[in-house]
């Protein structure tokens, strides 16, 4: 099974996608409630200014480009989780007999779903951290941080190089975990899913996931923000001063353990997102997004 990107619209219809319509509706309800409670009445000009500013329009266009790029280059070419799972399985079978452990079906499902969730999340943390700490990769990841206005589709504003890295990460983690589980338990493998997505991800993340890239500063409070990344914490991550903090996806635990945690209450409410003065213009079109990182790398190499 490869990434489900049959159509751009499929992403809105698929429960394993971040922007599934159900999650968007829940996020919208939360956002309206939060806005009315914290700010006041919602006006049409405010909505227009948010949904139709230059960054938002670029995100809409780039969302379609992102889909086309994946459909043409990632899915057919890149290593799939299936291939990695079979490699893992064949290697394990070559060094040992299959285990056929007699666990209960339900327990295997819980263990498999949880393993995919936890290992998937920790691997996202480390790849994200690598994108921030490696000077060459940061040039590509800057694309995502160039947005000064955040909306749910900003999630898809990623340079193709970064898309490939995340796809490889997914193939490796999901493939190795699946290979090991098939080796241990044979065919008694299934995933606990809710709305088609990993149950743990849906329950702990999906309904507020779309608020991460928004201006709705929804905090989980000091205690829970050490465990789960709140939308407010991810917005802190998009602020220039804290750009290398809060690198986690679902769990804040990794940030806490590895020293990159910043609680939202500890950061002044400063809605200035992006890379800083004058940087947005470097990434304000699709062509620029694709070319600029390579140009920056070339300049760095020449300078050194």
């Amino acid at each position: 099974m490869q990434m489900a990107i049959d159509t751009p619209l499929a992403l809105f219809m698929n429960g394993s996608s971040r922007i599934f319509w159900g999650y968007l509706i829940v996020s919208t309800v939360i956002a309206i409630g939060w806005y009315v409670f914290k700010v006041g009445a919602i006006s049409a000009p405010t909505l227009k200014a948010y949904w139709f500013n230059a960054d938002s329009k670029l995100d809409y266009r780039y969302f379609v480009f992102n889909w086309i790029f994946k459909a043409l280059f990632i899915v057919p070419v890149l290593l799939s989780a299936n291939t990695v799972a079979l490699w893992t399985l064949n290697w394990l079978n070559s060094v040992s007999e299959p285990l056929f452990l007699s666990w209960y079906y339900r327990d295997i499902m819980v263990a498999y779903t949880l393993s995919l969730f936890v290992l998937g999340d920790v691997s996202r943390y480390w790849l994200h951290r690598w994108l921030h700490t490696n000077r060459w990769l940061w040039k590509f990841h800057q694309v995502h941080h160039s947005a000064e206005s955040l909306n749910p589709l900003t999630f898809y504003r990623l340079h193709p190089v970064e898309i490939m890295l995340y796809a490889l990460r997914n193939a490796l983690v999901a493939g190795v975990v699946t290979g090991i589980f098939v080796f241990c338990f044979g065919a008694r493998l299934n995933l606990y899913s809710v709305l088609g997505g990993n149950a743990f991800v849906v329950i702990l993340f999906s309904f507020t996931g779309n608020l991460r890239h928004s201006h709705i500063r929804l905090s989980y409070g000091r205690w829970l923000e050490r465990l789960l990344i709140s939308p407010a914490q991810h917005q802190v991550h998009h602020q220039q001063k804290n750009i290398h903090k809060n690198l986690g996806s679902v769990f804040a635990l990794w940030d806490w353990v590895f020293g990159t945690l910043r609680l939202s209450k500890d950061v002044p409410i400063d809605q200035k997102f992006g890379l800083g003065c004058g940087k947005r213009e470097k990434f304000d079109g699709i062509i620029k997004i694709i070319i600029q990182p390579f140009f920056d790398i070339y300049r760095s190499i020449r300078r050194n």
């Binding site: 990434m3 989780a81 056929f100 995502h144």
Partner: protein, 333 residues
């Protein structure tokens, strides 16, 4: 990027909506009921009958009749074990296979123990105090390793009664758990496929490779005495039973079965490879010379066929799990 006008954006988003079809097609339950009734339950019922036939044959003076009855039961037992899933519905049933057949379990030489007990004068029901002394391997030993006698018959009666009791429990257990199987068909199917893969592997490795010298550890050293039922030589029938159940579950001409469900859910490609490899294994089984005695060269085609079945099964299995689709986007943050 002028091509991305609002109009083209709308078109790109809308047209695919027409092609977006629900990938989780609802599969009618008929194939599941068919698997349960026509394969699992049917084979268990047959085993009960074959066991009763063996009990009757113990009264016969003809060694051929007794031998034929045991071979038939071995084949029936292979059919039951190839899709044995009762243990996942009834905890007590987890150990029934071990109570029927002790092959590849423990280090005790059952034949030696049985011969020692026959030599004593204790009552058979007392002498055969261990469960492993009342299993298929023990029956094979007592019925076919020495001259048929009243003492051997009395021992065989106790052993066969034990095995028959277990087969009856399995048959009754399946009757009691039919609704549970059909209540969660995904679980049921994964248990059936798992049983298939497990016994394809064990048949290839334990019952063929280790006997004929096709494992890394014993390459070239054929040891027919290590086969499952060395005295009756009914091991080959057991292997046939395993293959026949797989044919029932996957055969193109045996549908509705596992293949029917795989076609509907995932298309023909993956499961077709399993079917082809299984057909090759069945062909190799049929073409093996009658007097093979687990000769290495005679075993290579079926060994290879079963290896291909296992690999094709794994490929199909991994592709149908759909790991990456369920992760909530593989992208970054």
């Amino acid at each position: 990027m002028k091509i991305f006008t609002p109009l083209s954006l709308v078109c790109l988003l809308s047209v695919p909506a027409l092609s977006y079809a629900d990938q989780n097609n609802t599969v009618v339950k008929d194939p599941y009921a068919s698997i349960y009734d026509n394969v699992i339950q049917h084979n268990a019922n047959n085993a009960v009958q074959y066991c009763a036939d063996l009990q009757t044959s113990l009264e016969s003076k003809s060694s051929d009749v007794r031998h034929q009855a045991f071979v038939q039961l071995a084949e029936g037992w292979g059919r039951v074990q190839a899709s044995y899933i009762l243990g996942d519905y009834d905890m007590n049933a987890m150990d029934y296979p071990l109570m029927i057949d002790y092959f590849h379990s423990g280090n005790e030489d059952i034949h030696e123990s049985i011969e020692r007990l026959i030599g004593r004068d204790s009552k058979p029901s007392t002498a055969l105090y261990k469960n492993s002394y009342k299993t298929m391997g023990a029956i094979d030993s007592v019925m076919f390793s020495g001259e048929w006698s009243e003492r051997r018959k009395e021992f065989a009666e106790v052993m066969v009664a034990n095995v028959c009791k277990r087969f009856t429990q399995i048959s009754e257990g399946y009757k009691a758990n039919r609704d549970a199987f059909l209540f969660d068909v995904d679980k049921g199917l994964s248990l059936v496929v798992n049983a298939e893969i497990e016994h394809i592997y064990k048949t290839r490795d334990w019952r063929i490779a280790q006997v004929s010298g096709l494992t890394k550890a014993n390459l070239g050293e054929t040891k027919p005495e290590h086969q499952q039922y060395p005295y009756s030589e009914a091991s080959w029938a057991f292997i046939g039973g395993i293959l026949e159940t797989n044919k029932q579950l996957l055969g193109e001409d045996q549908q509705p079965n596992v293949a029917t469900i795989a076609y509907e859910k995932h298309g023909k490609e993956g499961i077709h490879a399993v079917q082809v490899a299984l057909a090759s294994s069945l062909e190799a089984y049929k073409n093996t010379p009658v007097d093979h005695n687990f000769n290495l060269n005679d075993m290579i085609p079926i060994f290879q066929g079963l290896l291909d079945v296992q690999k094709a099964f794994y490929r199909h299995l991994v592709s149908q799990i759909g790991v990456s689709a369920n992760l909530i986007d593989a992208d970054g943050d």
